[in-house]
Amino acid sequence: MLFLAKAALGLGGTIVLAGAYTFHEGVIRVDVDESREGGSHVHMWVPAAAVPMAMHIIPKRHFMYASEHGRDFVPLARAIVKELKKFPDAELIEVDDGTQHVRIRTHEGKLQIDETEPGQDVHLLIPLSTLEDVTSQLEANAPSA
């Protein structure tokens, strides 16, 4: 009986630890809703901590390709993300043309992008720390000039 209790406690502890680690960086959230007939509805929640882990598995050549194509963009993106982390929540960009509405803002350490147009809603929520990890890795794997 005591052995079972120990095993249960060990298992429970491991699950709690794994859960805490997996979600400690928050969640990447992607919601896409197409309201047309047969339109797709994508709702995805991914633990942000999984992204840097997954990037270690991806073959280096793919990074080289991505880094080469984003040579100008990646350092800029990294600088922006690094700085955004220092500031409080803010509405960064908002565009409204009557039918289409785009909003980019930071909210509780996450970059939130909302795009609404007739027939389609897209919502993205990405932790800034994850973006920083991704851009850092892309920059680190960039081919030297």
Binding site: L9, A20, D72, L84, A90, D97
Partner: protein, 210 residues
């Protein structure tokens, strides 16, 4: 009772061990939360300066664009952009001597001059006024043509103009200008109005557009 004591002790030890193992997570989570909240509080408290751009179009669709950028971020990010004439936060200008006018010398001359109206043009199509007033360079342009009826008002602190021209010859130092701008109080920098559009660029310490 005596037979239960070792079992109870074992359980207690096990629970204590589990608590000790898990407590850093709780403490860490608490620290992260504290850091985040203190970060927000610090950022708000230190009075960051924000550059705001607002474009309102009253044409058919009624388009509105609002951009809010922390000046400090712009200062840090600008040097990361290396494109065309923009490098290391400085932009190359071939036209520093445009039309035989040395812009740096002109800026220097304005800085050393007293307040006053430097250029006043009143024409059938345009009215132009360039002046220095209370350490601000002020440019007003009124396009009177029927099609546009556009009014442009630019008000730039002289310190920002100085910083802009503080780089080498044929270069404008945008980072230095932004840095100088961050030391300024709330101010409206650019205002453009015509029949269809209103553009406003201003500086304050709010992180949202009014």
């Amino acid at each position: 009772m005596t037979s239960l004591t070792p079992s109870f002790c074992k359980k207690a030890a096990l629970i204590t061990a589990a608590a000790v193992v898990l407590s850093p997570i709780g403490a860490w989570a608490q620290t992260t939360t504290d850091k985040t909240s203190s970060n927000v509080a610090t950022a708000s408290a230190k009075g960051d300066r924000w550059l705001h751009v607002r474009v309102i179009s009253t044409d058919g669709k009624g388009e509105t664009v609002r951009v809010n950028v922390p000046l400090e971020m712009a200062e840090k990010v600008l040097p990361a952009i290396n494109h065309d004439r923009l490098h290391d936060g400085k932009v190359k200008i071939d036209c520093a001597h445009a039309n035989d006018v040395d812009l740096r010398a002109l800026a220097e001359a304005i800085r050393n001059s007293k307040d006053g109206e430097y250029v006043t043009v009143q024409g059938n199509d345009n009215d132009v006024r360039v002046a220095k007033q209370s350490n601000y360079l002020i440019v007003h342009v009124l396009d009177k043509t029927k099609s546009k009826k556009q009014q442009v008002e630019i008000k730039v602190p002289m310190k920002v103009v100085d910083a802009l021209f503080s780089a080498g010859k044929d270069e404008l130092d945008l980072v230095a200008a932004l840095h100088a701008l961050s030391a300024q109080g709330d101010t409206e920098l650019v205002s453009v109005k015509d029949q269809e559009n209103t553009v406003r660029v201003w500086l304050d310490s709010k992180n949202v557009t009014e």
